[in-house]
C-alpha cells in the first residue's frame, strides 16, 4: 500500500476494432446490445437519464452525463458505495475505430458531477495517503 496506489483511481482500456464508429456506437447505446456484452440495463442515450445495470451480484446506478453520437458517451457509475464515471471515446482510424474506455473514480474535471460520495472519498484517500506516507 503506498501513496500512488491510493491516488490512482482510474482504469483505462483501449482497443482497435475493424468497424466504423457508427456500429460500435450502436453496441454502446442500444439496451439489448449493451446487455449482450455488459449487463442488463434500461439505458437511453439522453443526458440526465437515470438507469441501472443489473447483474446477479447486484446493480450499478448510473446517470447519462455526455452524449455525442459516434464520438463520446459518459455516464456516472455508482457501485459498492463508490461513485465514479465511465467515459467512452470513439475515434475513427482508417476504416476502423479506436475505442477508449476510461473509468475514473476521482477526476478533478468531473468533481461537480460527484458532489457527495465521490468528493468525500477523494478527500479521504488524499488524507489517508498523507498519513501512510508519514508512517513509512
Amino acid at each position: 500500500m503506498n501513496e500512488t496506489a491510493l491516488q490512482t483511481r482510474s482504469v483505462i482500456v483501449e482497443r482497435d476494432f475493424p468497424y466504423p464508429p457508427e456500429k460500435i456506437w450502436r453496441a454502446l447505446t442500444q439496451p439489448h446490445l449493451i446487455a449482450e456484452w455488459l449487463m442488463k440495463n434500461d439505458f437511453a442515450p439522453v443526458i440526465g437519464h437515470s438507469f441501472a445495470f443489473r447483474a446477479d451480484w447486484g446493480a450499478v446506478d448510473c446517470r447519462v452525463l455526455e452524449v455525442e453520437p459516434n464520438r463520446t458517451l459518459a455516464y456516472s457509475w455508482e457501485a459498492m458505495g463508490l461513485q465514479s464515471v465511465v467515459t467512452w471515446t470513439l475515434t475513427q482510424s482508417g476504416t476502423g475505430t479506436h475505442l477508449r474506455m476510461e473509468h475514473a473514480g476521482f477526476r478533478q474535471d468531473q468533481e461537480r458531477a460527484f458532489q457527495g460520495a465521490g468528493y468525500g472519498w477523494q478527500q479521504f484517500l488524499a488524507k489517508l495517503a498523507g498519513v501512510l506516507a508519514e508512517a513509512e
Binding site: 483511481r9 482510474s10 482504469v11 468497424y19 460500435i24
Partner: protein, 107 residues
C-alpha cells in the same frame, strides 16, 4: 470479494465513520471517550459507528479495565486499494465480449 468490498465501501461511505477511522489511522489507538470528544456526536453514536467499523474488520477493540481502546486495521483497506486492478480485469473481459458481439453483428 465483491461482497466484502461492498461492505467496506458502505461502511466508509458514512462521513462520520470515515472521520473516526481516519482519526484512528492518524493518531493510533484511542478510547471511545477520546473519539467522542472529537467526533461531534454522542458517545452512544460513536460506539455504534465503532461497532459497524469493527464488523467490517476496519478497527480492532481492546478492553482495558472499564475502557475500550480502538485501533485502525489498515490491512482491511486492501480490497479498496485493489479497486483499480479489479476494475481493469472487469473491463478487459467486457471488451472481449463486446468484440464477440461486434463480430456477430456483422453477420
Amino acid at each position: 470479494m465483491l461482497a466484502h468490498s461492498d461492505m467496506l465501501f458502505r461502511t466508509l461511505g458514512d462521513p462520520t465513520r470515515r472521520a473516526i477511522f481516519e482519526h484512528l489511522c492518524r493518531e493510533g489507538e484511542q478510547t471511545v471517550r477520546a473519539l467522542t470528544a472529537r467526533a461531534g456526536v454522542s458517545q452512544p453514536a460513536v460506539s455504534k459507528h465503532l461497532g459497524v467499523l469493527r464488523r467490517a474488520g476496519l478497527v480492532l477493540d481492546r478492553q482495558d479495565g472499564r475502557q475500550t481502546h480502538y485501533s485502525a486495521r489498515l490491512a482491511a483497506l486492501a480490497p479498496l486499494i485493489e479497486w483499480t486492478s479489479q476494475m481493469t480485469g472487469f473491463w478487459h473481459s467486457r471488451f472481449d465480449d463486446l468484440e464477440d458481439l461486434l463480430k456477430r453483428m456483422d453477420q
